[in-house]
């Protein structure tokens, strides 16, 4: 329900309305800075209150599903970066996992640990970015600068790993291309040791901030039924009373070996979502500590494999390609023609920072997917604005868009 307390009654000195029930149509976006990308909202207003909202998306539509049908599987990997570009490794991972399930591959343990390290760093990056931009939308410039500073350190670590800061393409079908660099663990440990204090700083600035509470508490409340019906996932669903985390419930990689909690709230408002994001950052840090231990154990046990061994689908290691004729021939075929997964279909859901990121792949045995459907969480988190915004006031629009954490690379695909 809309917030009613502490609100000024609008008073127009020099504007006269012809009719008492005059409805104003406000066009919000697609170039509005707090629309988080290319969101256009048609808002029907009664004075300052929204009576009808109509989100209009598609300004960033690149036809990724169409592109996927015309690309070999490995070729599509860098394209997935451009979906949720705030946490691009999680998109790479979802696609890699879907193809691996399709061809029935088991990834080496060391690669799994590296993937988990990357995924959780991406989650932290995404959540920090969310906090920064949402706080900026509300007007908290300091938090924006603080959170971006921390995100920068994580991007440096990722940059050291794969050379890219935003579009990583750091995961391959069948494993990871590289081992982590020498400074990775040290840098990450330094970062993680400081993170609790950083999160506490943000909370000190926001948790008891009167403006923040006014803009967040009891604004944008999503009931459990509404969240389920609209296909909400991730923090949007968890803040509405359903403790559903795919990492916990349908564990992939080594998430069944690490200990972490699933924070959730039954309030469903903006503030609940904010709290869920903050707690998730702490849980991510917990997972990262455990992953670092796992990595060190891998190193001690001498597990050096980074790519799965499946000559029909995955190229051999570089050393084999350079020394063995048959590996070179197979590599040539896999690069020029592409791998040919078995005939069948698969739907694989992973927990991206935004929610359930699903890849549906229908393979007809050719080197190109016959149909690839990208299930991006933000698509429905934008759709829910249709039902969520009516009853709220114009300033609430900004804070609600902020806490839904929508990224338009993902909505429009």
């Amino acid at each position: 329900m809309a917030q009613v307390k502490n609100r000024l009654t609008p008073f127009f000195e020099n504007i006269t309305f012809d009719r008492e029930d005059n409805e104003l149509v406000l066009n919000f976006g697609p170039q509005h800075p707090s629309a988080h990308g290319q969101l256009r909202l048609m808002l029907h207003l009664q004075q300052e209150q929204i009576v009808k909202a109509h989100p209009d998306v598609g300004y960033l539509h690149r036809g990724m599903e169409k592109m996927a049908e015309n690309m070999i599987y490995n070729e599509f990997m860098p394209t997935t970066d451009r979906m949720d570009y705030i946490a691009s490794s999680s998109n790479n991972y979802g696609f890699a996992l879907a193809v691996e399930k399709l061809i029935g591959l088991e990834v080496p343990r060391r690669a799994k640990v590296i993937r988990m390290l990357l995924l959780e760093i991406n989650r932290l990056m995404s959540h920090l970015f969310w906090l920064a931009t949402t706080a900026l939308d509300i007007g908290a410039m300091t938090v924006f600068l603080f959170a971006f500073r921390e995100r920068e350190y994580l991007m440096d670590i990722i940059e050291g790993y794969c050379g890219a800061r935003l579009t990583h393409a750091a995961i391959r079908i069948g494993g990871v291309p590289l081992d982590i660099q020498d400074s990775f663990l040290h840098q990450l440990r330094v970062f993680l040791n400081k993170l609790p204090q950083n999160i506490k700083d943000y909370e000190d600035l926001l948790d008891s901030n009167r403006i923040w509470l006014m803009r967040m508490e009891e604004v944008g409340t999503i009931s459990t039924e509404m969240a389920l019906s609209w296909g909400c996932t991730g923090p949007m669903l968890r803040a509405s009373g359903v403790a559903w985390d795919i990492r916990k419930e349908e564990p992939y990689e080594l998430y069944d070996e690490v200990e972490f909690n699933v924070p959730f709230s039954d309030k469903g408002d903006n503030f609940a979502r904010y709290r869920v994001y903050m707690e998730e950052m702490r849980e991510s840090a917990k997972i990262l500590y455990q992953c670092m231990e796992m990595y060190e154990k891998c190193e001690k046990d001498g597990e050096t494999e980074l790519m799965a061994h499946a000559p029909k689908y995955i190229s051999a290691p570089k050393l084999d390609i350079m020394t063995q004729n048959y590996s070179l021939m197979q590599h040539f075929v896999l690069v020029t023609q592409g791998m040919r997964p078995p005939v069948g279909e698969v739907y694989v859901a992973t927990e991206s920072p935004k929610g359930e990121l699903g890849y549906y792949i229908n393979s007809q045995g050719g080197p190109y997917p016959y149909r690839l459907k990208l299930r991006a969480p933000s698509f429905w988190h934008t759709g829910i604005l249709t039902d969520l915004l009516p009853g709220h006031y114009i300033p609430d629009v900004v804070s609600i868009i902020g806490t839904t954490n929508i990224v338009f690379g993902e909505v429009d695909r």
């Binding site: 592109m67 350190y153 330094v190 296909g231 005939v343 279909e345 050719g366």
Partner: protein, 268 residues
Amino acid sequence: MRAYKPKNDVQAKPYYTDRFYVAPQVPKFDVETDEVFASDLEAIKAKFEVKDAYIQVEQMVVYINAHDIYGVLELMRDELQYTQLSEMSAIDWLAKENSFEIFYQMLSMTKRKRIRVKYFIENGQAVDSVEKLFRSADWSEREMFDMFGIEANGHPFMKRILMPYDWQGFPLLKTYPLEGDEFAAWYEVDKIYGKEARDVIGPELRDPARVDRYDSERFARLGFEVPKGTEITDDMQRTVQEYQEKDGVFLIKKLDKESSVVIDDPQR
């Protein structure tokens, strides 16, 4: 003679396939192997006709009749605890059997199971909207209409969602080329200047990203720089690069490697 290219599927094709290559299958398992799926399937079978059902990659796939979809999903939501419709869309089989395959990806959070409900429709046939059951189908069905032209009966707002409202053609059909069709190529020109401007503008100027290497008015030639407006011939001389510091850059010349410190920790 030119090689025959099928008109009904213009997507990328492998340039070489072994004549004797038989594609392997992703294994399908009997539904009886999983208790939860078996009981779910029994409940669906009791009320509706099930054409085929199997388990593939840990998820059950159920084929039903097109007109049963609303009833099946209602049963699954209300009695079988499949409370979320994760995803729904279509697969284009027009080239093969003139039909679309529609799939609905269902999730049960209490049972931790996923079921894919599927059915076939003829080309031109509409599907029944399930928007009344799951609000998420509102946008999914619009997207399906946008991409394939499949309409949903009973949908409150059956308009395009990702493409512009005045777009022609359905991009995810196999007959639609990747680079777009004639309409797509001239979309902006038609809209801004009108159709008659096509001849005036021409295909060369239509593309704003077009680079003309012989045009020295608007484009620079890196490495072969010439004054603006010069007529360009192919035998141009490479531009000689002259540096200000004849004996190397001042600062780097003075760098003493022995006494310098390399900072590798950005958070020092």
